[in-house]
């Protein structure tokens, strides 16, 4: 069994890697890159060489290519020599002018250095000669440019992604010669009263800590980097985007590290558990408040994060669906061809056949007009009521699906020999249904439970869009519309991981519930 599980997990890892590779190939290599300019006004306004340069800067922003520019190269070069005033120096101005002459630019020393440096790194050097009128005047946007570009292969992209995926903080993480006292140890946490794993020399101060926020135990020690958003959430990491609460900043009476042990309190919204190391020397004010260099913080916000919102709605809907769907399915099969069965079947046909968009709007229309429930999430006066319609819209279709399968399995079991035998032995119908048929039929339903709980984390696309729920369901669709390749890859990894985990957990649960089933093929009836 253990060997089988190890094999399954290895294969899951392999397929995860292949999926990410396919997706990277799709979004970085197969999509026509030009589509990002279709609705771009800046691109329309630019012309000639300026437009080409703008295209390259955008490609770099979207993560398609690496791109280096000659002007920033000489800027760096002369800043190192002359400092802030580099742009006044004649050397700099001469070098800058050099590329505007297509016949002589190659003789310039800086140009040669630029070409040599980036060619060695595998870049492709592109020279855009100045575009001029016949009179010799430069056309608008026709300045000459010298650039170096480099398009990553799928494999190197994948390798870079995998390298940065998981990072564990060590006590030698911070490169600061002044910091001599480096350790990772358990200490009493002054903010929660419990114990916390505290580090010095690590990026975060609190590596593992407890507080009153769900899920109560927090890890800063191990960091998973799913990827960085290029456009939708400019430059933010996706893990942060989906985990950070979205509400208002909340200030409370707290003690700065320097105040601990005194009676002094300050009114601040700083989340002291989030502090990270600052390389810069502390200002006087900071020295009064903090005892060490861990001074970079985030603020406490109220409300739920995107993923919490989606999960809350999803999990309530799932629990409701199982609580209502299974008994209904059993009732339908007990009174097969009766009135309950017929009504149930009509409902199942409705859910199976009608486009989900249509019935979600039908639920929305009924809920808002008959029960006066809030329609859009943000407009709700009572926040709790805003959750009602999304939960109902998610639960009702799942109830239909569960009813269908429970009924099917129950009816199949009803015709089997052991039921006839039980009847012949004189067991009551109630007993047969309760202890024999239901238990055998539920086995198949159990398989889907872990999957449906886990996929609550991915949110629901249509439901969240219709009610404008601030959840994670629309992350992928918005990213697709905005060509945010970082989020697309991150979503793929996230979704694939969850779906594979759901299936493996479902199989394990199935084994637990039904001892006859063997996954590894040793014993049991399976092949």
């Amino acid at each position: 069994m253990k060997k089988y599980l190890a094999k399954r997990i290895l294969f899951a890892l392999f397929s995860l890697i292949v999926v990410v590779m396919i997706v990277m190939l799709l979004v970085y290599s197969l999509i026509n890159k030009n589509v990002i300019f279709q609705t771009d006004d800046t691109w329309n306004k630019k012309s000639s060489n300026d437009r080409t340069i703008y295209e390259y800067t955008q490609y770099k922003k979207y993560g398609y290519v690496e791109y280096e520019d000659y002007s920033s190269f000489i800027k760096d070069k002369y800043t190192a020599i002359y400092g802030e005033d580099y742009y006044k120096q004649t050397d700099f101005l001469n070098d800058k002018k050099a590329i505007q002459d297509e016949t002589t630019f190659k003789e310039n020393v800086s140009v040669q250095e630029f070409v040599k440096k980036y060619q060695a790194e595998g870049y492709q050097i592109i020279y855009l000669p100045p575009v001029k009128y016949k009179s010799g005047k430069t056309k608008p946007g026709g300045n000459g440019y010298l650039i170096a570009t480099y398009e990553k292969s799928v494999f190197s992209r994948l390798w870079d992604y995998a390298k940065g995926f998981i990072s564990i903080e060590t006590k030698n993480q911070v490169e600061d010669p002044n910091l001599t006292d480096r350790y990772i140890r358990f200490e009493k946490d002054p903010y929660s009263g419990a114990f916390a794993l505290v580090g010095s020399g690590t990026q975060h101060k609190y590596l593992i800590y407890f507080d009153s926020r769900f899920p109560f135990m927090h890890f800063n020690w191990i960091h998973i980097n799913l990827g960085t958003s290029y456009t939708t959430y400019r430059g933010q990491e996706i893990t942060t985007v989906i985990n950070a609460p979205t509400g208002k900043v909340i200030a409370s009476k707290q003690q700065y590290p320097a105040m601990i042990g005194t009676d002094e309190y300050a009114d601040t919204a700083i989340d002291f558990h989030s502090v990270t190391y600052s390389d810069v020397e502390l200002t006087g004010e900071e020295k009064d408040l903090f005892t060490d260099n861990y001074t970079v913080y985030t603020l406490k916000r109220e409300g739920l994060s995107m993923i919490e919102t989606s999960f809350l709605i999803g999990i309530i809907a799932t629990i409701l669906a199982y609580m209502i769907g299974i008994p209904l399915g059993i009732t339908m099969s007990r009174h097969k061809d009766g009135i309950v069965d017929k009504i149930g079947n009509l409902y199942i046909i409705f859910i199976m056949a009608v486009p989900s968009l249509a019935y979600i709007f039908i639920f929305a229309a009924i809920g808002t007009s008959l029960f006066d429930l809030p329609y859009k999430f943000a407009n709700a006066e009572v926040k709790v009521l805003a959750y009602v319609l999304p939960i109902i819209s998610l639960a009702l279709p799942s109830i239909g699906g569960l009813m269908k399968w429970v009924r099917r399995y129950m009816v199949d079991q009803m015709n089997s020999d052991y039921v006839k035998f039980a009847r012949a032995e004189g067991l009551s119908e109630r007993e047969i249904y309760k202890t024999h048929i239901s238990r055998n039929a539920i086995i198949y339903i159990v398989h889907g439970i872990p999957g449906s709980i886990i996929t609550c984390l991915t949110g629901a696309i249509i439901t969240e869009r219709v009610y404008s729920v601030p959840g994670v369901g629309n992350l992928l669709t918005v990213a697709l519309a905005q060509h945010d390749n970082g989020i697309i890859v991150a979503c793929t990894v996230f979704y694939t991981f969850l779906s594979i985990a759901g299936i493996i957990l479902g199989d394990l649960l199935l084994c637990k519930v039904d001892p006859r089933i063997s996954l590894s093929g040793e014993g049991g009836g399976g092949r």
């Binding site: 294969f11 397929s15 995860l16 292949v18 999926v19 396919i22 997706v23 799709l26 979004v27 197969l30 999509i31 026509n32 589509v35 046909i349 409705f350 199976m352 056949a353 009608v354 486009p355 989900s356 968009l357 249509a358 709007f361 039908i362 229309a365 808002t368 696309i461 249509i462 869009r465 219709v466 992928l476 669709t477 697709l480 519309a481 697309i488 979503c491 793929t492 979704y495 694939t496 779906s499 594979i500």
Partner: protein, 326 residues
């Protein structure tokens, strides 16, 4: 004593039975039973239900309207775009504005003064063609490959790996990337829906074929040396006709739903192709203020999908030989 009794019995039998004439050896092999024709029985069972008559006539009506009416009613969403008074008119106001009763405006106008009824008719044609073309492509590829996949153990090992990997690539991503590459349109959407769509069907058939492959009668036929293609076509495929039709019943509506879903997200068909999904998407922004632009396409989409689903399910029931008993 006992001998006498025996003789008496034989004499009795003689009077009851007589020897058959030695005519045709083949004739004597025949068993007399009521004539059974598979497809006749299928249709007999199918048309016994009154619901099916109603559904079939509704489907024919929808088909005729969707495929013939667009020739008579030229749908131009931009025809009233210059006249802002025609925008978002309720049915009563629209007919009032365009002078008396007309079919064209009996469902009101949309956000650009377009006729809702003409839009729905033109859109149903897109949705129906999309559903039938996609289903035809996916089912054909899926069934053929699924049969081979389930039958050969070598292919099974390879295909399982491919399936488990491809099934994990988000469906939305595949569709939108393909639509971006090929630029939005009817045929690129069909390509996007079929490029990986057949895999699920093939996987489903693989399991069905595997179940039947190891049944005793298949084993016997293999021992007698029946070639693989005969095994697949004679032993396995007939057995799963009802499975095929059941799947068709869920596949056909699912493509209409998929188109609605994708259009709602702004992926899929280009703006010049009228589609139910696009109409629903355009109507949903103000579905409480201008309900006539939103509910008719929703109801039509729901009607088409329900009819296809119910008809398919009932046909699947009828194709199951166990229901053919008199």
């Amino acid at each position: 004593m006992s001998k006498k009794k025996n003789v008496a019995i034989i004499e009795n039998e003689d009077s009851l039975f007589r020897f058959a004439d030695k005519t045709d050896a083949r004739e004597s092999e025949k068993i007399i039973a009521p004539r059974y024709s598979y497809w006749k029985s299928v249709f007999r069972v199918f048309f016994r239900k009154k619901v099916n008559w109603i559904m079939i006539s509704l489907l024919i009506l929808i088909f005729l309207t969707a495929f013939i009416m667009p020739f008579l009613w030229e749908y131009d969403p931009m025809e009233n775009v210059a006249d802002s008074k025609t925008f978002n008119l309720s049915p009563a106001k629209a007919m009032d504005y365009f002078g008396g009763f007309s079919f064209k405006y009996c469902l009101g106008t949309g956000a650009l003064g377009n006729s809702i009824l003409y839009g729905i008719v033109a859109s149903s044609r897109t949705s129906l063609s999309l559903a039938f073309i996609c289903a035809a492509i996916n089912m054909t590829i899926g069934i053929i490959l699924g049969a081979v996949w389930g039958y050969s153990k070598k292919i099974d090992a390879v295909m399982l790996v491919i399936y488990q990997i491809v099934a994990n690539v988000p469906y939305l991503l595949v569709v939108s990337v393909i639509v971006y590459i090929m630029s939005a349109g009817f045929w690129s959407l069909i390509f996007a829906l079929t490029v990986t769509g057949w895999l699920g069907i093939a996987y489903f058939f693989r399991t069905q074929v595997m179940i039947i492959r190891d049944r005793e009668y298949s084993l016997a036929s293999r021992c007698l040396g029946t070639p693989i293609n005969r095994m697949v076509s004679k032993n396995i495929l007939p057995f799963i006709t009802s499975v095929i039709v059941t799947l068709l019943a869920t596949e056909l509506p699912s493509y209409i739903s998929a188109e609605v879903f994708l259009s709602y997200l702004g992926i899929g068909l280009s703006a010049d192709v009228p589609s139910l999904g696009r109409m629903i998407q355009q109507g949903q922004t103000a579905f409480r203020t201008f309900p006539w632009a939103f509910w008719p396409p929703v109801i039509v989409a729901a009607m088409i999908t329900i009819i296809l689903y119910v008809l398919g399910q009932n046909l699947a029931d009828a194709t199951d030989p166990r229901t053919h008993m008199l």
